[in-house]
């Protein structure tokens, strides 16, 4: 079976289960509070059935490009580290570190441009968000 069609069927199955759960929960809601969730989920089930039961030819340019697993893993790990450490360490500690990591290892820049870019970008974020717009970004270890 073709790749996208298999994905579509998996999406239809997952979507169908989710919609059934929404209908079940909506059914038990007080008054007419469950009406709209039931209508939305029913529409979802119709779409899932339609998606699962349709067979179509897959055009060659439709197939998604192969996924670069190691880069995706590196990117996701750095993202998780950014979010996880933003509050304990502080935005303006984690932000340049995240940028240096990505610019050095994913963009393959040399150390100097990576550090300069990361520093100047963090400065822009600081000036726009922290100073100009007074957004109370997590300061972490820099709070004191």
């Amino acid at each position: 079976m073709m790749m996208l069609q298999r994905i579509d069927r998996a999406v239809a199955l997952a979507g169908g289960v989710l919609c059934l759960a929404v209908i079940t929960i909506g059914w038990g809601m007080r008054g007419d509070a469950g009406l709209f969730p039931i209508i939305s989920a029913s529409l979802g089930i119709v779409a899932c059935l339609w998606l699962a039961l349709t067979r179509r030819q897959e055009a060659p340019d439709e197939r998604p490009a192969p996924l670069d697993g190691p880069r995706l893993t590196l990117w996701c790990l750095s993202l998780l580290a950014l979010l996880g450490l933003m509050e304990p360490l502080g935005t303006f500690v984690v932000l340049p570190l995240f940028l240096v990591f990505n610019l050095r290892w994913l963009a393959r820049l040399r150390w100097l441009p990576a550090v300069v870019l990361a520093g100047s970008f963090s400065l822009v974020i600081y000036l726009v968000f922290a100073r100009l717009l007074a957004v109370p970004l997590p300061m972490g270890v820099l709070a004191s």
Binding site: R30, G31, D32, P37, S40, A41, A47, L103, L106, I125
Partner: protein, 497 residues
Amino acid sequence: MDILLTAFANVLTPMALLTLVLGTLAGMLIGALPGLSSTMGVALCIPITFNMPPDLALILLGAVYVSSVFGGSVTAILLRTPGTDASIATALDGYPLAVAGRGGEAIGMAALASLFGGLVSVFVLLAIAPPLSTIALAFGPQEYTWLAIFGLVTIVGVVSERPVKGVLSAALGLALACVGLDAFTGLQRFTFGQNELFDGVPLLPVLIGLFSVSQAFNLCIPRDGGVLSGEAQNLQGRSLPYWADLKRCLRTLWRSSMIGSIVGILPGAGTSIAAFISYNEARRHSAFPERYGKGEIEGVAASESANNAVTGGTLIPTLTLGIPGNAVTAVFVGGLTIHGMIPGPSLFTQHAESTYTLIVSLLFANLMFAVLGLWLCRYMVAVTRVPGAVLGPMILLFSVVGSYALRNEMFDVWLTIAFGLVGYFMERWRYPAAPLVIALILGPILEVNFRRSMQIAQWDLTTFFTRPLSVALCLLVVLSLLVPLWRRWRMSRRVAA
């Protein structure tokens, strides 16, 4: 007439012009940054206006409002990261143009179309504000229900090669719109005990995630990722649209500006609906509908003229009746009240000079962002030449900080990243993300008005077919469903023959 001349004189003072330039630049920046909405921009400027004379204060607020809508289109075109929901439709054709090395041309068209839409809506505001707002008041819950359905039908038809994927995406958006406290019973729905979800799934983290974060993924993960593809990397590109393209788009500009002005008058209808309805209408009337979504400059013109026409439209009920049409104008009302001006019919009599100064300043603000946009687009387009792995992390960080800035909650940041991942895979597997966002916007409008109509009519469904405006909107929905089906049937017959 005298009052108009006085208003022009007020706007043309050096201080007023400086305020206009600063407001326009600030608005463009706010609109372009993911997470900073027009509402936030106007709200942030209100404290600055405390010590300003009322005329200057209104000029600043007006300039920030109209230019922030245009600002969103710059990043939507160049990076496929719409700053606001108003620019989602612009990204559909703007980004493919940028990918083909025609980003400058697309921004130029966006600036001119926004100027056109903005000017039309200001003239509508000047000329026929009071009667139009009376018609808008005739819209009851039944009409809003049909309008929301019309918006949904339009968006599903517009963005997907396979309508079923659009329907599934919209259904997911509608289901997400059910999260939060129920407006009628006060029941918590699908919140799973999370306080952050009491007000529903916040729109902007979803928008930023699906469009900006997913784009950061797209740029970073492929080894040679970037905005420009293939031969486009060697193209110099124009910074102004061709005269022939402008002439070709003139009818679309008029139609979209009128749609934008009218939709803007309807309280709660929103800029994204106007942009999508106009985009759909432009595609329907085009001789080459198959080019839409692949880099058709008329698509950019349609959505941009409509979303900027909404700005004048929303001010009509706000100024004439004191009814803010959306969140930005609600904040705007706050700004007016601070300066002792109570929105409503008296505004045009007791504070006529300041009110007309505001309207005239909107004209100049539109001119200002168009001039700045046309001048700056040749420089802004350079961003498309930056390698994807350099650009991606920066887009992501703007998205993270922008989504945190919305409510100062880490929950919103996690939500943004989660939707970013969803958006990345939706794009890979060819599921359109726009119906999800539009359904999330329209869901509450649809639900509240549907249930309100049902309660008024004591669960009699015929209430949706007994009012003339309802019937007209119902016919629009039916037509927008049937016309594409009829076209497809006619094309298949032609192919068979």
